[in-house]
Structures are given as C-alpha cells and as structure tokens.
C-alpha cells in the first residue's frame, strides 16, 4: 500500500472527500510488453518526438514507448501529479520547476546510467546547481540547451561595416554609432514582462556570481551588492532602444527586428523561429552579451532547455534506461537538432544552427553559465519587478529595486532558507 501523505486531511469534510478519493489507478501494460510513458514539455518539438517514438518502437520488441507532447504541458504534468498518474520519464526545462519537483522527491537517482559520462560536465554542473539542497546522486540528464545574448541583423552590420563588440564600452560605442546613423540599435518587447529577463540574465552571468542565489540563501551575500551593476547596465540599455518599450510585446519586438527596424535584439536563440516566420530570408547571427570591460570575463548565458528525469514511481528502471540510451544516441539527437534550433548537451560533433555562429567559441570553450532566473521562484515575479524598476524614473530607483529584491527574496524563500540552514547545521 502506497503511503498517501496528502490524503490524511484532518477536517471532517476533507475526510469525506478523501473517502471519495481513495480509489485506485493502475497502469496497464499492453500485451505483456513493458510500456514506458513519457511527457515532454515542448509542443513545438512534437514532430521530432513523433519520429523518435516511431523509430524506437520499430527497433524494440519488448518495450513500447509512448511520448506525449501536450500543450500547456507543465499544467498537465502538475494535474497528473495530483492524480498520482505518474509518467515514467519527464522531459522538462532545467529551471525552478525542476528544483521544486526534485525537492518534492518525485525523481529517481539515475547515477548508474551509463550515458552520463558522455554529457558535457558544464551542463551536469548546471543541473547540480539547481538542487535546493545538494543531493547525492543524479536526477536529471540535460539533453539540449539554449543560449541567450544578442541577436543581430547580419546584413545591416555588413552594409554599415559595424564590428561585433566584445566589451561593454565597445558595445555602448557601437550603439551610439548606430544611433547617429539614424537607426535604432536595440528593440525591447517589455510589455511582456518575461522579456526583461533576457538582457537581465545575459548581463547577470557576466557580472554576478553564478551561485549568488545560494549565497543569499546561506546568508553570505545580498542582491543589493551582487546585482548593483546588472541593474545599472539594464537601465543604460534603455537609451539605445525604442522610446516607451513597455508598450511593445515580445511579438511586436520580433516583428520589428525582422523588419529591420533595429540592428540588434537582446533575446535568446528561441526567438529565431518567430522572427523568421515574419521574414524568412533574414540573416540572423548572435553574439555573447559583452557585459564586462574585459573580454575574458564575459560568459555566455546558456541553460538547459530540455532534460530528462525518471520518476521515482517508474517500475521498469531498465526499460526507462533503454529509452534514455536511445534518446542519447547521436542519430536521435540529430533528429532533434534538425527539427529545433538547439545546442546538444552531449559531447560530440554535432552541427550547430548557423545563428549561433557568434557564440560558438564560447560553447566550445565551455564558457557558459545558467540563466539566473532559473533559480528565482516564479511567484516572486522578478520579471515584473525589473519592469517596475525600469519604469521608475526617480533617482534612487536602483536602490528601491535592489532592496525590494532582497526583502521579497527572503519572504518568498522563507521555507527554503530554513531548510538550507538546517542542512548546513547538519553538516557541521
């Protein structure tokens, strides 16, 4: 009998409801074969996963793989968890959702999976850093990553003879050159608050410690110090963008950039398909955000876009491993890469999408750091806080914002900070 921890409700009515609710759900195997059910959260990659599923089932007699790629997958995944109708493998993003799921003890330790050694260590480290409390074992396998920095209009740059900037000063100089030529350097879609995080993350990886959130949780740092320069530079960027960027959405910004209204667009590689849908012939390339005065201090903002975890409830670990082995086959990875613009997390010789040319050297040199917002609790709405800060025109706006950041961080992470404290005390 499984322990049903959250059915032990105390109130009378909850007891009534739990009486109603204690049924039993069973997963049926089809014709004696082992069934492995997987949910992955990127509906845009449905074609790739359909092909992967088909190939797997054609080559395996004893295992049936079923991959679902639903819309609103995270909502659906959460409802499955509520129903206790667990899939065997989940394909999700390497963000705070993963940290929370892991913290809720939903995943299985897969450190004995033989493919781990083929995965780039930097991405394994990114996964490790997502753990609230350092865990023994491996709970996630990074599959593909995305990168964020600055997308630029290659044709515009070539026509005007503009150089790719590598330091902050070069960058601001370039923006001023572009401005004086009567064109717009940057375009923002800040009406959609989440887009503020694109330049924010890209600056933060270069200017702040990668583990600043854990440092704050442990009481060893404050955001007021750690993010001061990031906040400052975020505001400077406004000088080079369209006036009143809060009026324009992500979609507006993609369209504007596609139509050549700006030379650059600080966003991630994920925006490329939307831009190309408006202007299929556009030449887009990208470069790492030059956040520092020293090129060697710059770091590429890259995080895990898709990773696989095996659920604790999975009854056929071997079959699940077989599926993972198949997924990490070079050929399978190439199917995915051909379908989506992505950076594979497995070591090897894969062809990178051309719009990542400018970031290639960083990827190859493993000079990468995760999106900081992957560590922010989503209910804290840091994106909205950044938008509020950018709109605040008073002199002490940065101070107000950073103090609020620290204050709210402590409130939203109260339980977590306590947990971390307990853990650290246990270590001593």
């Amino acid at each position: 009998m499984k322990k049903r921890s959250h059915l032990t409700c105390l109130t009378l009515a909850a007891t009534i409801s739990s009486l109603l609710l204690t049924g039993c759900s069973s997963t049926s195997d089809s014709d004696g074969k082992t069934e492995i059910r997987m949910i992955q959260y990127k509906p845009e990659a449905v074609a790739a996963f359909e092909e992967i599923e088909e190939r797997f089932n054609a080559t395996h007699d004893d295992i049936v793989l079923k991959i679902e790629s639903p819309n609103e997958a995270m909502t659906i995944l959460k409802t499955r968890l509520i129903k206790e109708d667990y899939p065997d493998i989940v394909g999700i993003g390497g963000d705070i959702n993963y940290s929370n799921f892991l913290d809720a003890e939903l995943f299985m330790d897969i450190s004995d999976f033989d493919g781990i050694s083929d995965i780039k260590p930097s991405y394994m480290q990114i996964e490790k850093d997502l753990e609230f409390i350092p865990q023994d074992g491996v709970y996630a396998l990074p599959y593909v990553a995305n990168c964020a920095g600055i997308l630029y209009n290659k044709d515009m740059f070539e026509e005007n003879g503009w150089e790719i900037p590598t330091t902050w000063t070069e960058f601001t100089d370039l923006c001023e050159t572009i401005q004086s030529s009567g064109q717009l350097p940057l375009y923002f879609g800040y009406k959609d608050t989440w887009t503020t995080l694109a330049p924010w993350n890209a600056l933060a990886v270069g200017l702040a410690d990668a583990d600043i959130c854990s440092q704050v949780n442990a009481g060893n740092a404050t955001f007021a110090e750690g993010y001061a320069e990031v906040a400052d530079k975020m505001k400077k960027l406004l000088d080079y963008a369209e006036p009143n960027p809060y009026a324009y959405s992500y979609n507006d910004a993609c369209t504007a950039f596609a139509r050549g209204e700006s030379a650059m667009y600080p966003i991630g590689s994920y925006a490329v398909p939307q831009i190309l849908s408006v202007n299929p012939d556009m030449n887009i390339d990208s470069f790492t955000f030059p956040a520092n005065e020293n090129e060697s201090d710059n770091v590429l903002n890259s995080g895990v876009d898709l990773q696989f975890s095996v659920m604790k409830e999975c009854e056929n670990k071997e079959a699940a491993y077989e599926v993972l082995r198949f997924l990490y086959d070079d050929e399978t990875i190439q199917i995915y890469l051909d379908n989506q613009n992505a950076v594979p997390c497995k070591q090897g010789d894969f062809e990178l999408p051309s719009m990542l040319d400018g970031m290639k050297s960083y990827i190859e040199a493993d000079r990468m750091s995760d999106f900081h917002d992957h560590h922010y609790p989503s209910e804290m709405s840091v994106d909205a806080m950044i938008q509020t800060y950018l709109m605040d025109e008073s002199d002490n706006a940065a101070e107000t914002f950073l103090n609020r950041f620290d204050k709210e961080w402590n409130r939203y992470n109260r339980d977590l900070i306590e947990k971390v404290k307990k853990y650290e005390e246990g270590l001593k």
């Binding site: 845009e44 659906i76 129903k83």
Partner: protein, 302 residues
Amino acid sequence: MSSERHSVPQPPAVHFKSADEIKNDKDSKSNILLTIILILGCLTILFPLYMTIVIAFKSPSEMTNDVAGALSLPKSFSLDNFAEAMRVTDFWHSLGNSVLITGATIVLALVIHSMAGYAIGRSMARHKGFKFIYFYIVSGMFVPFAILMMPLVKETAKLNIDNMFGVIILYVVFYMPMNVMLYSGYLKNIPLAMEEAAEIDGASTWKTYLKIIFPMMKPMHATVAVLTALGTWNDVMTPLVIMSGSEKTTLPLAQLNFQTQFGTNYNLAFASYLLALIPILIFYILCQKQIIGGIANGAVKG
C-alpha cells in the same frame, strides 16, 4: 417578508403582447435614429472583427507593426489558412467534442437548474430553508476557480470521471448559481394565478411544473442556454485540467496548438477562431428568436 405581488390574482389568459407588438400597433415605422445609433455602436465591434478577418487571411510574412500595413487587405483571399487551421486542430473531431460537451451541459442545465430555480423561486419568500438554499447555491458563483481546481482534478480522477462526462458535470455545477438565479428571478414576473388554478383542479406540483411552468419559461430557457453556451464554448481551463489524461480534445484545447512558449501563429489561430465562432453564433441567433417570441406563446396557453 411579503409575497403580495405574487399572490395578487390576475385574470388568467390575458392576451400578453410583447413590447415588439405594441410598438407595431402604435407606429409601424421603425425608429431610424435609434437604428443609426445602434449601427454606430456596432463600429466598435466591426472594426476589431475586420482586423480579425484580415489577419486570418494573411500569411505570417505579411504581418507588420505599421498601422496601414496591418489594416491593408491580404494579398489574396485564399482559404489556405482556414484549411490548415482545420487540419491542425483536427477540426471536425474537436468540433464534435465541443458540441457534445456544450450541448449536454445545456440540456442538463435546462432540466436540473430550471427545476431547482422553480422550487427555490416559488418558495424562498415563504420558507427560510429555501432562502438558505438559494443563498448557498448563489454564493458558489464567487468561489475562485483556482482554489477548486486541484481538489477537482483529484476528485474527478478518483471517481473515474476525468473525461468529457466529468467536464459536463462540472459545467452543470459551475453555471448552477447563475442559472438558478436567473430562473427564480424570472418567476417573479410570472403570476401565480395559473399554478393556483391548476392546483385547485387537482394537478400535482410535478404536473403543474411540467405542463405549465416549464413551457412558460421558454424565453428563460433560451437565455440560460445562450449564457451557458457562452461560458462553456471557449473555456480552456476545465477541459485542460480535467481531461488531461484522455486523448479527446475540444476546439479551444486544439487551438492551443497555435501558441508555443516563444511563438504564436496569429494567422492560423485567427482563422481557427473565426471558424469556431460560427456554430455558437448560429446557436445564439436561433435562441434569440425563442427569447423574443416566447412569452406571448407561453402565456396564452394557460
């Protein structure tokens, strides 16, 4: 608490004329000024509708941010977007499921809600218990869905109704407060005389309800049907969280295909929304006739 207005006996079978008819009697000329004002008001609807239609015909590469470009006609009026939208959403299947869900919800609502609305509406003035039931049910309208969502997901799964049937049942519950309120409010304007006459003749309450009240509430049935359909037809959340285990999909669920985290195909989406709009619009126009013509027909029978 007085129920005086209800109990004033009115001569049964007065010839009710709707406001439409009376105006006809007075002056058969239509009010041109009013027509013009209403048409002007319609512009606030026609303009967005125009934009929707234009975008539905364009291709993604015709999308721009400048006003003239956005309002210009598409390069061609080909139906490709509509065909593609129908393919992506598996239109006929999704439509079938949506019609089934909305249709079944309406039928159940008309039966269950009108019955409850009648019972409550006729007795709440006299009976504290019914008054309590009335407020109890109506208060259900104000429960934020987000708090119910997770418990409902669990409950429907355990009862094995995490499917279309469960969605229908939930809709019947979600629209119960509004519909009960509408039915019992409507009854306030229907005189008790006919029911009393029937009861004196020895008819049971059931019979009175079925033979006299139910037909007489036809305009309200039509109103309830339209309002319930309005709520269910475009709803994404309930089927999304309740039916997440089944393969079945409704139109709004299928329309999520046009949106991913980092990109939206507005052209296909708009074409699909226009297609989804047609059935419900036809349904409304059919019901509207019942709302208008209803009271005169219903009343004369008594």
